[in-house]
Symmetry: C2
Subunit: 333 residues, 2 copies
């Protein structure tokens, strides 16, 4: 093999908004395999908001990255060399190989991807981490009942789009919040939400009030910041919040001060913050549901595919500022 | 009877900090009883932080007060006239009669108080609303396990003091937060908390860090504001917060901006906001526990008794600024 491994490492901790200069491309020889290992050539890399807080040198749910480390991330790829007969060449696998073109895996550390369930990239989105995140947050934590009003922020995004469609399948009134008319149109017309409000609109709060006449029983929160506070001003008694993300604040050095503590208390709200990596046992059943909904045409998704690993920093920065439209992927090979 | 009823009404909605001028004393004839009613002469009125947000004209869990309405509140008193044979004269009852010297009750709307369980005033505190609040928040919501670290804010207060003692009974390390050395000494020496940190101390955050070497698994929150944020900076993975009160903000026109959303998310915290009035079915079993702990000497409480109904506004304002020391009561007769 004359191929080499291309990696993108974090060069330094970002100061506020992440910059292209915070990353560095590194090339290395392909690793030599030991018994039981397989070499994967990455086809798609998933870019997700959670990667941003990992770049900050603060206590978190994982060790923060240190300069020189490969950026983390979910990937799907093909086994191109193997010293494990159960992972033969040509096997399609999903594995957390990070921002690189190749990686070494062992059987216990990969999911074998069934190509019958959907295109390989779906294993990173609707049938993978973001789909399972939406499923868990909505059905295991927020548990909306038929007729309740559910608000989903970042509604056209990888998690929000699935979360809202799942709530529709429960018989809820589902209101999305997204940035711009094009995304809102997609959320209503393609994904079937009952309403979608553009948080950039001058009359956003009035539009939100009009879309939630019976207040908000469930909030699936991906964004945080003032948009979250606006939803809190519409919150119903005994509401549940699945706190999944806080993307509006990840690049802020002085975080937004949340105003809604009074609303949480007065309306006896329960807030469930969660990270799907904590719930490995939940994945198979959720993935089976998602695959079935996809087959039945009840689950739609959209991908925003950036081309080439070297474009990953740019695509990542674009996603963090809402420039993507659908699940952000990088086609690596 | 030549007695008259004395009431204290809300004269106007407060603007920020509540003022004595926001209240007015009103006198009226004693009501005439109908069949099935009893007249209660109030002995003790309970003053509690929840009354303050009710004075604001905003959507809440109850209808906000309107000017001229009697201030609400729990009371304990004695039946002095009765047209219900099952509530004979001399019966000791607890009822939500508000800030007044007398009130009319029916059997379904009172709890008959067993004088064997403790002094009458305890029916408003350790054996009443604040005790049951502590029991529910700690044991039904936060559910600390032996060995976990539990932080309780307003630790010398009516709810906090009981909440912390309950956590001690579960085998937890319990750290109080209170205002001033005298309260902290009481919390440690009398109530048996493992530590108590004075939030007014210049090195409060360092003291809190030293008192929570294994981080904070459970927060029983009565205060909110920057003290809550300081605890969030020490929060452990999968922590639970019983969000019971937000007293530091009730008189603020511009609420403090909560900084801890990132910590909630990164540490996958669950926040349970609650109001004990929602959980009427929970009371009897909780009161039985509390009465037993009291009998066994495992539960201590302290009362701060103000004298005379006309002093209630002053005592209320004092309590809202932390000037009380223990459960705030007003001796009415």
């Amino acid at each position: 093999m004359s191929e080499r491994n291309t990696k993108i490492v974090m060069k330094r901790h970002p100061a506020g908004m992440v910059q292209p200069e915070d990353f560095e491309v590194v090339r290395a020889d392909l690793p030599t395999l030991s018994e039981g290992e397989a070499l994967v050539r990455v086809m798609y890399l998933s870019l997700d908001p959670y990667m941003r807080p990992m770049m900050d040198p603060v206590r978190s749910y994982v060790e923060p990255l240190t300069p020189g480390q490969v950026m983390p991330g979910g990937t799907v790829g093909e086994v191109v060399a193997s010293r494990d007969p159960e992972l033969p060449k040509g096997t399609l696998v999903a594995a957390p190989l990070g921002w690189q073109s190749h990686g070494v895996v062992t059987r216990g550390a990969v999911r074998v991807v069934d190509p019958e369930l959907g295109p390989p990239s779906a294993a990173l989105g609707a049938l993978g981490m973001t789909g399972v995140t939406a499923h868990y947050g909505m059905l295991a934590l927020a548990r909306p009942r038929a007729g309740e009003t559910v608000v989903v922020t970042a509604a056209s995004g990888a998690v929000g789009s699935v979360a809202g469609q799942i709530a529709k399948l429960q018989g809820c009134r589902v209101v999305g919040i997204a940035g711009g008319a094009q995304k809102c149109r997609y959320v209503m017309e393609e994904l079937g939400f009952d309403a979608c409000v553009d948080y950039r609109a001058a009359d956003f709060e009035q539009q939100l009030a009009a879309a939630t006449p019976d207040y908000v029983d469930v909030l699936f929160e991906n964004v945080g910041g003032p948009v979250m506070d606006a939803v809190l001003r519409r919150i119903a008694d005994h509401a549940r919040i699945a706190l999944c993300g806080n993307i509006s604040q990840y690049n802020e050095q002085a975080p937004y001060g949340f105003q809604g503590m009074r609303q949480l208390l007065m309306h006896r709200v329960t807030v469930h913050a969660f990270v799907i990596a904590d719930h490995r046992a939940y994945w198979p059943a959720a993935q089976a549901d998602l695959a079935q909904w996809l087959r039945e045409g009840k689950l739609k998704y959209r991908e925003d595919v950036s081309d080439g690993l070297r474009d990953a920093p740019h695509a990542f920065i674009r996603m963090l500022t809402g420039g993507n439209f659908g699940k952000q992927l990088v086609r690596v090979s």
